[in-house]
Symmetry: C2
Subunit: 120 residues, 2 copies
Amino acid sequence: MKNFEFEPPYYAVIFTSQRNSVELGYAEMADRMVELAAQQTGYLGVESVRGADGLGITVSYWRGLQDIAAWRRQGEHEQARNQGRADWYSHYALRIAKVERAYGWDAADGSADPMLASRG
Amino acid sequence: MKNFEFEPPYYAVIFTSQRNSVELGYAEMADRMVELAAQQTGYLGVESVRGADGLGITVSYWRGLQDIAAWRRQGEHEQARNQGRADWYSHYALRIAKVERAYGWDAADGSADPMLASRG
């Protein structure tokens, strides 16, 4: 994950969600939120996966807690969250976590454990 | 996520991985690691999703850093990680993060923002 190699500490927002079967408007909202988040101060990146059963995990990375709070107050984001609860999700969990250590590995690096290697 | 409602602080291990096309042995290893993790001291739970494109996010939750370190030293887990680098992954990132705040929402709770509600 070359594009996420930031030096800790930084913050992760872990959003685990179960989608219901309502498709109308969801994909457009999800794309728009990724686009909008990337414009916010302190945004570092996002990783997002949804499985065939509708369970999804999105982790967004931020420089500081104040950046997360500002993104939370962003008007279009707030509206999307409200619509999410009304229309698109069955349940979700949201966790705010401070990343203390981070390691990356790529097959091109060979098979050694990256946690045992010294990193710059 | 009723089964993850633990009071912070606790720890999250965020494992984001890109699978290659080698299927042999992968599913069995993944199931076994979930089973084995659940037997470790300090294990709180796991959330895991893999998309059709092979990108996956697994977040496991632990009471403390010492529990994560012990799980890391577990022999069968270490062997699985080594095989993962040799056989199953193109690249991955691993982050260890301290969960400072956690919120849950379920459609049965109504549409109010859980971050605005007081929680016990």
